[in-house]
């Protein structure tokens, strides 16, 4: 094998794609799109609905809130004001002023008698969740304080009553009795994303490889090239180049995601206060609990799983890519390829359904068996590793079987390829292609 020429081919094929506009767009616009989406999402929680209101509390309905101790406190958006006007004129006033609203909180007797009470807010405009929450929160806090005081409970005593329940689930292994943390949300998400990402990369780059083989054939350049290099070198060069392109894209996306994550974090650091979260309609402690859970998982997550992703992608791409290239070499145009490509696309798509199933039942027979079948393992093994504990030797075995699998596929594909690229005219049948493998 002439490695100088192989290198020349890899370099051309790599640069040819990397310099294309479509590659640059996909590589930089996709993360940018995600960034914009994230910014809008966060901004919609924290930044919008900044309307300011004056909250009127009619004297006759003022209840406990006119007492100094239980006074409502103004915020940047809401100004509370007790007005010494009859209810009717307050209603008229609110009717005529968009920036004002009036509230009717529970009265003293209602607070005493019941453990629930009415609160009505009247305004001309539809109020945001944030405004409603804030008013509700302030009133609720005062009522609680009022009742605490009435019952003669000190703050200390009250604190003693508070109890936080931290829920964790533990899974015990059927055979070994080993215990492990139960539902690993993060790991499951990462496993799912990895499996799906490998599927997408293999499918998309496989199609790109097939198209490129068809182009070379229909441009009639291929015979010129194979008079300088062996068809196998050309095939290998193109495959390795596309793997490199995919890895480049992954690295850029990885770096950009980290940058975006950090950038978003910095930008919204001051916005991310509990008030903002509360305004969004989520309780602060809920968010904090979830966050702690995530942080614990991040700490305990086996990040080396991510290193397996390139290995399974490369294996999967050698396997599927060589077959896509073989189909491309057998036809003259992309339309003719559709029918022949079906037997290749089918296991690829099935692997995604298997992957979803494995996320739910990581220890099922399907999960174990599919992680040893080279047509499925590039997608399903990463999911399985993320979703459950897989002994290292099983991972190694799966990789070895995958390598043997793709070597076999390349062997078959190379035979089809070197016959196919020089065949023009009618679209060959699958039977004829099998004959090429046998006779060449």
């Amino acid at each position: 094998m002439n490695f100088d020429k192989l290198w020349i081919i890899i370099r051309r094929e790599y640069l040819n794609i990397v310099q294309k506009k479509s590659f640059l767009l996909a590589t930089f616009l996709v993360p940018l799109g995600i960034l914009i989406f994230a910014v809008i999402e966060i901004a919609s929680i924290t930044m919008v609905e900044k309307e300011k209101y004056t909250v009127l509390l009619p004297q006759e309905k003022a209840s406990i809130f006119q007492e100094k101790e239980y006074e409502l406190t103004n915020t940047t958006d809401l100004t509370f004001q007790i007005v010494d006007q009859p209810l009717d004129s307050v209603k008229k006033r609110v009717q005529g002023n968009e920036g004002e609203l009036w509230i009717n909180p529970p009265q003293k007797n209602q607070i005493k008698e019941y453990d629930e009470g009415p609160l009505t807010i009247t305004s001309t405009k539809t109020l945001s969740e944030g405004v409603k929450k804030e008013i509700r929160k302030q009133i609720g806090k005062r009522i609680r304080a009022f009742r605490q005081q009435k019952q003669g409970i000190s703050d200390e005593q009250l604190k003693k009553l508070d109890f936080e329940l931290n829920l964790t689930t533990t899974k015990i292994d059927k055979k070994t009795g080993e215990e492990s943390k139960g539902f690993k949300y993060l790991t499951m998400i990462i496993g799912g994303i990895m499996g799906f990402a490998i599927y997408m990369l293999v499918a998309i780059y496989g199609q790109i490889l097939m198209q490129s083989v068809i182009d070379e054939k229909s441009n009639r350049i291929v015979e010129v090239i194979v008079s300088s290099v062996k068809p196998f070198q050309l095939l290998l060069g193109k495959t390795v180049a596309l793997i490199s392109v995919a890895m480049t894209q992954m690295i850029i996306w990885g770096v950009l995601s980290v940058l975006i994550y950090m950038g978003v974090g910095l930008f919204f650091a001051d916005q991310f206060d509990p008030d903002a979260i509360a305004n969004a309609g989520v309780s602060v402690s809920e968010v904090q609990n979830k966050w702690q859970e995530v942080e614990m998982e991040v700490a305990s997550f086996n990040w080396s799983v991510l290193l397996l992703m390139p290995i399974f992608f490369i294996g999967g791409f050698f396997l599927y890519g060589s077959l896509y290239a073989a189909v491309g070499s057998a036809v003259d145009n992309i339309q003719d390829a559709q029918q022949l490509v079906f037997p290749i696309s089918l296991p690829l798509i099935l692997s995604i359904f298997a992957g979803i199933n494995i996320l739910q039942n990581p220890n099922s027979t399907l999960s174990v068996v599919s992680s040893y079948i080279p047509f499925f393992s590039p997608m399903t093994m990463p999911v399985r590793i993320a979703a459950t504990d897989v002994p290292w030797y099983e991972v190694v075995l799966s990789i070895i079987v995958l390598i043997l699998g793709f070597l076999a596929c390349i062997w078959v594909a190379a035979k089809v390829y070197r016959t196919g690229i020089l065949m023009y005219g009618k679209k060959p049948k699958l039977k004829e292609i099998i004959k090429w493998v046998r006779t060449s």
Partner: protein, 310 residues
């Protein structure tokens, strides 16, 4: 050093049940232009693909410059296939550089050869353009550069003039002659017999996978001359038809094509012509055109192939 740059010894190639090349032996003399002829599907392309290492013979041997053909020899061959093309969206300069580097040239040498040849063929202004921006003739010239610029000792040109206008045909033809004069052995395959007559020193004719003729071009034409003579005259043309033993192939007012009996020569014709009242302006041995030989040898399916215009 052998007189033959390339030798095929009983080379056979089968596809499925079909014998594409059937025990063909050819000798391509060093430094000559060798015409490889034959109707479509005769086995020319298969033979060329074996010479260029694209496929391997099932039987027989190919000797390249005195050595059995090896993969490394591809760097010393320039091949312009009939089914040829370029990367459409690649710049002219990158394209030439890439294809030359695949022939083993260093980046530096590839660039130098490229500049030299682009200038030679008047394409310097187009180096930064994409192939699709070029006319068909210009693309053809770029293709020619990618074939010859690494200066291989063996050139294989399959229909090199197709797509070229008369002016560019002349430019490329001049370059082919110049390369040949500098010692390059050239295998030239075409259906255009007048180009073969003009350029080739030797020809080989392949039909149905078999080599049916291989010789230098003058010998071939002599071999197929068949005692035909061209006579130019003034006078009564019926006198020609009255000459005994003469087979008149063609009779016009001022000239005639005749065949004399087997075993006789020009003197036989002269003797009879003296006895007529005709004024003889010219008597000439008629050597058949290659086209006629081609058609005679390959039969009915040949005329279509021979006249196929690129």
């Amino acid at each position: 050093m052998s007189n033959y740059f390339l030798e095929l010894n009983s080379v056979t190639k089968r596809y499925d049940q079909h014998l594409a090349v059937d025990s063909v032996s050819m000798r391509v003399p060093r430094g000559r232009i060798y015409g490889l002829l034959g109707p479509n599907g005769a086995g020319k392309t298969t033979s060329i693909r074996m010479i260029t290492n694209i496929t391997v013979p099932d039987e027989g041997q190919i000797i390249f410059d005195g050595e059995p053909l090896q993969p490394e020899h591809v760097n010393r061959i320039g091949y312009m296939p009939e089914e040829r093309g370029l990367y459409k969206k690649m710049k002219v300069k990158d394209q030439i550089e890439y294809l030359l580097m695949l022939k083993g040239l260093s980046t530096k040498d590839a660039k130098a050869a490229r500049e030299n040849w682009l200038e030679k063929l008047g394409l310097t202004d187009w180096t930064n353009r994409k192939t699709t921006d070029l006319s068909k003739g210009m693309q053809q010239k770029v293709q020619f550069i990618t074939t010859v610029a690494h200066e291989p000792p063996l050139l294989i040109l399959d229909e090199p003039f197709s797509g070229l206008d008369p002016v560019n045909t002349q430019v490329v033809e001049a370059e082919i002659r110049r390369l040949n004069a500098a010692g390059t052995t050239i295998i030239f395959s075409t259906h255009r017999m007048e180009q073969v007559e003009e350029l080739c020193d030797n020809i080989a004719l392949i039909n149905r996978g078999k080599l049916i003729l291989e010789d230098d071009i003058t010998s071939v034409r002599k071999r197929f001359q068949k005692n035909a003579y061209l006579i130019e005259f003034t006078g009564d043309k019926s006198e020609i038809s009255n000459i005994a033993g003469l087979e008149v192939k063609e009779l016009n007012e001022r000239d005639a094509m005749v065949r004399i009996p087997e075993g006789e020569d020009a003197k036989y014709l002269m003797r009879h012509l003296i006895n007529t009242n005709l004024e003889i302006l010219k008597v000439e041995l008629h050597l058949p055109r290659l086209n006629e030989i081609f058609i005679e040898l390959v039969g009915k399916d040949a005329p279509v192939a021979a006249q196929r215009d690129q």
